[in-house]
Symmetry: C2
Subunit: 354 residues, 2 copies
C-alpha cells in the first residue's frame, strides 16, 4: 500500500494536533458533479453501480480530482447493501427512494433472520481494495455502514423517511422482535465494517439516519446500544493502530452526552446544533464532525464564507474538529460553491491551529 501523504483527517478524529481543520463532504461523489452524471450514463441502475468496483472506484476519485483540498475519500456505496445481503431484495425506482421486495413484519420471518455470509458483500470489499489502491495514499479512505435501527426501519417499513409507524408499533408492542432484528443486524454490520477495514478502510462511519425519529427513551433502547455494540467489536489495523470510528445520528443532537460514551472517536453533527455548544457538552471525550446545512451551498460565495467562518469560530481554537456538511450534499449544488466552501475551511481554519 502507498504511504499516506495527508493524515490530517485521521489525526483530527483522534483529537491530535493538525495545521488546519480537515474537510470532506457527505455524498461528495454524487449527482451534483457533471463528471459523475456522465459516468452514470453508461453504468446502469444505482444498485448495479454499487456492485461494480470499477465504477465505484472511478466516481470515488472524481471529487478528489476536482477538489485537491479535500482531506478524505469515502467508499461509494449505500447503507442498504446490508439489508439486501440479508435477503430483503433491494431495488431503486427512478425518481423514488429505495424499496424492498420483502418486509420484515411477521414473527416467523423475523426469527429466520440471520447474519449473511460476508461473501454476499464481497463486491463492497473489492471496491474498498480497488479504491484504496487508486487513491494511492493521497488521503485516507472512509468505510461506512448504516446503524442497526436505521437499517431496521427500511427492513420493517419497506422504505425510508416515513412516520415509522410499523416499526414503532413493533418497538412498543413486541420489543423482543425488534431487539432480535437489531441484534442480528448489529452482528452483521460489525462483520461488514471489519471486512471493510481488512480490505483497506482507514476510518469507519456509522450512519444513523433515522435515529432522530425516536423518543428519548426509545433512542437509548433501540438505537444507541447497537451502535455501541458494533464499535466495541471493531478490529484495529494490521499494525495495531485504531481505525477511527465516527457515529452520526441525524436529528440526534439532544443525545450528545450519551453518544460521547459509546466508544466512538468522533460524533457527527447535523446543522441544528451550534457546534461550540456541542463541544462544551462533550468535553474532550470525542472529536466532532460537521455541521454546515447543505442548503447553504445553493446560495452565494459570500454567504458560504460567512457560515464557514461562523462554524469554525464557534468551535474555536484547538483540535478535534472535522469540517463537513450536516447531511449529504444535494444534487442541485453548483460545484463551484462546494469549492468555495472547501477553500474557506482551509483559509479560515489555520488561525485556530496555531
Amino acid at each position: 500500500m502507498a504511504q499516506l501523504q495527508n493524515d490530517t483527517f485521521l489525526r483530527a478524529l483522534m483529537r491530535e494536533p493538525t495545521p488546519y481543520t480537515p474537510v470532506w463532504m457527505m455524498r461528495q461523489a454524487g449527482r451534483y458533479l457533471p463528471e459523475y452524471r456522465e459516468s452514470r450514463k453508461t453504468a446502469g441502475s444505482f444498485l448495479q453501480l454499487c456492485k461494480n468496483p470499477s465504477f465505484a472506484t472511478e466516481v470515488t476519485l472524481q471529487p478528489l480530482d476536482r477538489y485537491p483540498l479535500l482531506d478524505a475519500s469515502i467508499l461509494f456505496s449505500d447503507i442498504l447493501t446490508v439489508p439486501d445481503a440479508m435477503g430483503l431484495g433491494l431495488y431503486f425506482e427512478e425518481g423514488e427512494g429505495p424499496k424492498f421486495d420483502r418486509t420484515l413484519r411477521e414473527e416467523a420471518d423475523i426469527k429466520k433472520l440471520h447474519v449473511p455470509d460476508m461473501a454476499e458483500l464481497q463486491y463492497v470489499f473489492d471496491a474498498v481494495s480497488s479504491i484504496r489502491t487508486a487513491v494511492n495514499g493521497r488521503v485516507p479512505l472512509i468505510g461506512f455502514a448504516g446503524s442497526p435501527w436505521t437499517l431496521a426501519t427500511y427492513m420493517v417499513e419497506g422504505k425510508g423517511g416515513t412516520d415509522f409507524l410499523t416499526i414503532k408499533k413493533m418497538a412498543y408492542a413486541r420489543p423482543d422482535l425488534l431487539h432480535h432484528i437489531l441484534e442480528v443486524t448489529a452482528q452483521t454490520v460489525m462483520q461488514y465494517l471489519n471486512a471493510q477495514i481488512a480490505a483497506g478502510a482507514q476510518a469507519v462511519m456509522i450512519f444513523d439516519s433515522w435515529g432522530g425519529a425516536l423518543s428519548h427513551k426509545a433512542y437509548l433502547e433501540f438505537s444507541l446500544p447497537y451502535m455501541q455494540k458494533i464499535i466495541n467489536g471493531l478490529t484495529r489495523e494490521a499494525d495495531g493502530r485504531i481505525v477511527p470510528r465516527v457515529a452520526f445520528t441525524k436529528g440526534g443532537a439532544l443525545w450528545l452526552e450519551a453518544q460521547a460514551e459509546i466508544g466512538a472517536d468522533a460524533i457527527g453533527l447535523d446543522w441544528t446544533i451550534d457546534i461550540g455548544q456541542a463541544r462544551k457538552r462533550v468535553g474532550d471525550k470525542v472529536a466532532l464532525q460537521g455541521n454546515l446545512d447543505p442548503a447553504i451551498l445553493l446560495s452565494t460565495t459570500e454567504a458560504i464564507e460567512k457560515e464557514v467562518a461562523s462554524i469554525l469560530g464557534s468551535y474555536g481554537h484547538g483540535n478535534g474538529h472535522v469540517f463537513n456538511l450536516g447531511h449529504g450534499i444535494t444534487q442541485w449544488t453548483p460545484p463551484e460553491n462546494a469549492a468555495a466552501m472547501i477553500s474557506a475551511v482551509r483559509n479560515f481554519s489555520t488561525q485556530y491551529h496555531e
Copy 2:
C-alpha cells in the same frame, strides 16, 4: 357565554395548581374517529370542511363526547387558511399533502405580499363562535395558527415537508426577501389570532411545524423572533385575563432556553426530549405541553400506560404540565387506545398534585 366548568387546562398553562394533569390531543378531531369519517362522507373536500362552521363545530365536539376526560377542545381548522387568504390558492389533492396554485419566489411577487382583510377569514371566526357556544363551557376552546416560518415554507416551496431548499436558498442569498415575507405573515397571524380571541378562543397555540429543519442560527433569525412578535401583539380577553399562549416547534427541543424567553406561557414538546430534562432547562419560566410519541397509541394498553406513567414521573411533582402527544394523532389509532391514554393520565397524575 356559558360559565367554564373545567379550567384545569388553562390553570396548568399558567402554572397554577390543579388537582391532576390536564390532557388533550393534537388533531383530536380527526380520521381515527369513525364518527369523523362518517361526517366527512357528505361534507366535501378538507378545505370546504374548514370553511363550513357547522361542520367544524360538529367534528370539534366529537372527541369531547367520546372522551369525557379531555380537558380542552381545539378549533377544527388548518394552519394553511392563512396563506390561502394571502392569495396563494390552497388546495388538497386526495391522498397527498396540501398544495398551492402559486408560490412566492419572485421579488416582485414578494414585494406585493400584504396583510389580507380579516374578512377573508371570517369563516374561521364564525367557527370559533359557533364551537364556543356548542362546547357550552364544558372545557376551554383553543384557537391556533401556524408560525410565520412554517407558513412561509408552504408559500415559497408550494408544499410541505421537503428539504426546504428553495426557501433556505432565499434565507441565505436574499434574507431581506424572506424577512419581508415573515414580517407580513407575522402581522397577519397576529390579527388572525386576535380575531379568534375576540370570537371566543380561550387559549392560543402557534404551530412551528418546520422550525426543526433550520440550523441553530437560522432558527434564531427566521423563526423564533416572529413567534415572539406575534405573542407580544396578542390581546387579552374582555375581562382583562391573559389568554394563555403556547408555542410549539416540532424538532425544536435544542432551543428550549430561547423559546422560554419569548413571552409564551407554555412550550410544546415533541417526543425526542425527556420532559424532566426539559423542565430543568426552562425552570419556572413556562409550562410544558407534551410529549407522548403518537406511534405508541398503535401498540397495547400496557405499553401506553407504561409510557404515560414514565412521562408523568419524569415531569414529577408540581404544576405546569399539560399532557399531550408530541404531534398529531395518526389516523391509524384505535379509538380505544386514545381512551386508554386519557384515562391513564387522569389516574396516574393525581399523585403528582397532592
